[in-house]
Symmetry: C2
Subunit: 322 residues, 2 copies
């Protein structure tokens, strides 16, 4: 499989363009030359409600984030540029929130190359277009890493376009989204948000579906909270067996921790943090649960460390994150 | 100030090229087509010693990481390409380890544009070229984020070239290196290791030195350990006042923590973790130190939160990371 990615690191937000270009709001507004940015609402739907009330109150023009022919046409230039750069692409894999990006890319790409396969991707927690295309109800909602495509109601126009042009729509899990964000950062050295990494997540979820094909991915956003990104990276290390937390039962007396530490040293594992738990455990009062966070090279090294601790007589349990 | 960056995401390592291209080592070796990679040694100097012993034992050819005219010429193409792309550059800022990259860039750039200003950058902990250029001894060593340029002894050839061509050599602190790595990730969406970000660190350390100039930076490496990167990001959040740990003295009885939590809620700060410390504190036995890790919007928001906690009667101290 050969991959071609186009980064499109700009989030599409519900925006209200002010007719008076030099007018600025006070509280919570960041002045930009000729524009006024207001950050309000917990997610897309709340932001839309705020924008609509501003439109009504100030007589502004509402620019829809996806259900607008001009927005769709603008986003379609991405499909055009990708096929212009790499005509041998067999398929394009594009994240779907409201469906504007996928609609534009689909129209442009299908026109340039009628044989191109067009695959959309949604988060498992927000299968709104998936549900509409199938005419089937679906459970929609939850806390997803891909908040950029967490849209409850797809566009009417985009639905019509995608009904006509889309070949497939895949749903990806939170774990696949996390893995895709971590891979893009570690291998491509590029920061991509959960929604932007959904295309790669789809590839990871169904490798056989894409084997042997030239696949184009659109990495459509890089707005990820720093603390969230740090957590995603650390969780991925834990999944790869490179960061682990072990729960080890020892006796609460001198020398016990030193004995445990010797096993870590002999196995070449770096201890990062040690937590003692005297009260909330099921051991006799003299017992002590110690939790040790440590670094290992990979899953095999971690398994060998756990085996060595058990062989040395320590009751050891590996705490999993999933 | 206008910035032009060229990413050069490949670490230059001390390598020994085997004459038998299909020969592979067993333990610790990652086979590559036509090459054999051996990971050994804690840093550059140890890796060189291992490479030299392999050269002696197997009759290999040693390719120096920087003190070699061909290596310098190859790295010089970066300077050539930068001035070809952006002829209006006034200065180039380049990290220095052994000095090969800076030497090549200096030769190419000065030849193309005699007025170009050439500025090298070293980590404060490893001012080896700085010391040689001035003929002054310096303290060299320590644990730096920029391990890619942590070289104790610059090259003989590179020293001669840089004596002739370099206009200035700046030293950057660990804090500036961390800030540069975090900025490149957050703003440029690019993963750059400490050594690779040293040029931006130099700009951050002396903004007046670069004001109004067209500055070219070489981002010369992206090999950063994931856990280290996550830590750098979290420390930067703490420095910006967006992540904080507060030490709050409360009484060890029902309702106390709830009272503290109400202040956080009223101030709109998200509590991430709560740690209780009953034993190791200087309060009376009924006293309790609680450490609360929380998110705030910025330094002003954090200061307001601390003030609100104190106004509510809680003895509060902000734990700093530097």
């Amino acid at each position: 499989m050969r991959l071609f990615c186009l980064s499109f690191l700009a989030a599409v937000l519900a925006t209200a363009i002010s007719p008076a270009a030099d007018q600025h709001l006070g509280v919570g507004a960041k002045p930009l030359p000729g524009a006024e940015v207001i950050l309000e609402g917990e997610g897309y739907d709340e932001a839309v409600a705020v924008a609509n009330s501003l439109v009504a109150a100030r007589g502004l023009t509402y620019v829809h984030a996806f259900d607008d022919p001009a927005i769709i046409a603008g986003q379609g230039t991405i499909g055009f540029e990708m096929l212009e750069d790499v005509p041998q692409l067999d398929m394009l894999v594009v994240p779907i929130g409201g469906g504007g990006l996928m609609s534009g890319v689909a129209i442009a790409a299908r026109d340039m190359k009628p044989t191109i396969e067009l695959v959309g991707v949604e988060a498992e927690l927000y299968p709104s277009m998936w549900s509409r295309l199938r005419g089937r109800p679906a459970q929609i909602g939850g806390d997803t890493l891909a908040e950029g495509i967490a849209v409850k109601e797809p566009g009417r126009l985009t639905l019509r376009i995608l009904l006509a042009l889309l070949d497939d729509l895949l749903l990806v899990s939170e774990r696949e989204l996390e893995r895709a964000v971590a891979l893009l950062l570690n291998v491509e050295k590029t920061v991509v948000e959960g929604a932007g990494a959904a295309g790669l997540a789809a590839l990871l979820s169904q490798p056989d579906r894409f084997r042997g094909r030239n696949v184009g991915l659109v990495l459509c956003g890089g707005n990820i909270d720093t603390r969230l990104l740090a957590n995603v990276l650390l969780r991925e290390l834990a999944r790869e067996g490179r960061l682990a937390r072990l729960r080890i039962a020892i006796k609460d007396r001198p020398g016990q921790l030193s004995g445990v530490a010797r096993v870590f040293e002999a196995m070449g594992s770096n201890i990062i943090e040690v937590y003692h738990q005297r009260v909330f455990n099921r051991l006799p009062a003299k017992g002590l649960i110690t939790e040790i966070e440590c670094e290992t090279r990979d899953r095999a090294h971690l398994d060998a460390l756990v085996a060595a601790l058990r062989a040395a007589g320590y009751d050891t349990r590996l705490l999993d994150i999933d």
